[in-house]
């Protein structure tokens, strides 16, 4: 399973033709204590690079950008009661949604871990 990244600090993990999407460790740390995640609706269509939700920390509100185009097939309902999961395990239990890709080649265009790390430095 491959994980790739966006310059907007989302990660996308490939499983078949579906990716699991979340925000990176770096982004979670920069945001600070997450208090609310506005999740996309299951079944909604995401457009690559377009806003699909928001994430709020105590101090700030940030947009979530879709890493790929496709349909939301699952959302992480645990975030509704426990948004702090995004801080505790941003790249695990703090995932945001799963997207069935309309165009799987988009995944290849995302950043490798090494290239993403260069952005964060």
């Amino acid at each position: 399973m491959t994980t790739k990244f966006t310059k907007e600090h989302e990660w996308a993990k490939l499983e078949g033709d579906t990716v699991t999407v979340g925000i990176t460790d770096y982004a979670a740390h920069q945001l600070g204590d997450v208090v609310f995640v506005e999740l996309p609706a299951k079944g909604s269509k995401l457009q690559k690079d377009k806003v699909f939700g928001t994430i709020e920390s105590v101090k700030t509100v940030s947009d979530l950008f879709a890493p790929v185009t496709g349909e939301v097939v699952a959302v992480n309902g645990n975030l509704e009661n426990n948004p702090a999961l995004v801080n505790e395990e941003p790249m695990g239990a703090g995932w945001i949604c799963k997207v069935k890709m309309a165009n799987p080649s988009e995944f290849d265009q995302l950043l490798s871990e090494a290239d993403y790390k260069k952005i964060c430095d």
Partner: protein, 362 residues
């Protein structure tokens, strides 16, 4: 950007630094929620060097203070403190500040960093008679220690007995060998002290306080938690909840406006507002689960914008979304409902009692 004498100390401790009103300040050291909780349950340390300290002295000092501030400084005892708005003749607020009365001829005024220049110019333009006005902000350090363990920690570093100092009173004495004004005040809704001292001793005082509080688990606190703490206690933030276009009556600060002392800047307008009513009034509200209300979000009623949020946050102690905002008086009673528009969607809000949080007093 202006830097506090403790800037390097904050950076070294890993604090995230931001620009606040032209000052390079720590917004958080570890986590806003952790820092917030530390102050509510234990103790926290704040570097507040950026605040302004003005001194007004001379035979006409009291007369001038009475004219420029809404509070009654004649009713204060020596070494007592008052929180006051400072208004223009039209009732709008130049700033909110603390008056420290040493004697009827000597006062210290503590003003907001964001308003320092405006305040200095305003006060200077208002002064009459035999009075001396000096800005000592750049040479005066200010560190606050706040929380239920503040007294016990501070007592380890001073021979001044702290217990007899009542809330909003001050004394002077040595703390960690440094000459301080020891003031039982704060901006958190907790018990605590604010220490004013010669700024060159900043590092020693900061480190000694951290060391004295180590066994208690004291934490340094950034501006992020300072904001959530003050909002839970419904303490005003100038620039958000009050500004150049609001009056103390509109902000529900009536308790600070002492008409009985005789005329003062803005008293006529404020008396009229008090007697005849206002067109907008500051209320506290709560929101259900979901996004937080934030400064500038529209307050809606029946599809029409009727006001604006001035401050809002997820409240760490109360574990719910709270906010302050100006609404028409008809929507200000406890239990009144309206919507907060957040990113194009309306979320129902209800007016509730403030302060949102009040500490249990022994």
């Amino acid at each position: 950007m202006n830097k506090t004498p403790l800037c390097a100390v904050h950076e070294k401790s890993g604090a995230r630094m931001v620009d606040f009103a032209g000052w390079y300040m720590p917004v958080q050291y570890t986590s806003i929620i952790e820092e917030h909780n530390a102050v509510r349950t234990n103790s926290g340390l704040f570097d507040l060097f950026h605040m302004g300290e003005f001194w007004l002295s001379g035979p006409d000092a009291l007369k001038n203070i009475q004219k420029i501030c809404c509070q009654d400084s004649e009713a204060l005892s020596d070494r007592q403190i008052a929180y006051t708005p400072m208004c223009r003749p039209d009732g709008t607020i130049v700033d909110d500040l603390l008056i420290y009365r040493w004697t009827a001829e000597k006062f210290m005024l503590v003003v907001n960093a964001s308003n320092m220049k405006k305040d200095y110019d305003w006060i200077a333009s208002q002064l009459e008679g035999d009075v001396k006005f000096v800005d000592k902000s750049s040479e005066t350090g200010l560190i606050a220690i706040q929380g239920p363990n503040a007294e016990a920690i501070l007592q380890k570093l001073t021979r001044q007995r702290l217990k007899p100092i009542k809330f909003y009173w001050f004394t002077s004495g040595k703390v960690a060998g440094i000459d301080c004004i020891i003031s039982r005040t704060g901006y958190t809704g907790e018990d605590g002290f604010e220490l004013y001292y010669p700024a060159e001793h900043s590092e020693k005082l900061w480190n000694d306080l951290l060391e004295a509080g180590k066994d208690f688990g004291i934490k340094p606190i950034g501006l992020g938690a300072r904001d959530t703490l003050r909002l839970e206690a419904r303490l005003m933030l100038y620039g958000n909840d009050i500004n150049d276009e609001t009056t103390p009556i509109e902000a529900n600060l009536n308790w600070t406006v002492k008409f009985a002392k005789g005329p003062f800047n803005g008293s006529e307008v404020m008396k009229k507002q008090k007697d005849q009513g206002v067109t907008k009034t500051l209320v506290g509200f709560e929101l259900g689960k979901g996004p937080a209300a934030r400064h500038g979000y529209p307050i809606m009623k029946d599809g029409k914008k009727v006001g604006e949020v001035t401050s809002g946050t997820m409240a760490p102690t109360l574990q719910k979304n709270i906010g302050l905002g100006y609404v028409p008086p008809a929507l200000s009673a406890i239990g009144s409902t309206f919507d907060i528009e957040i990113r194009g969607k309306n979320y129902p809000a209800t007016v509730i009692e403030t302060p949102f949080y009040t500490r249990a007093r022994s």
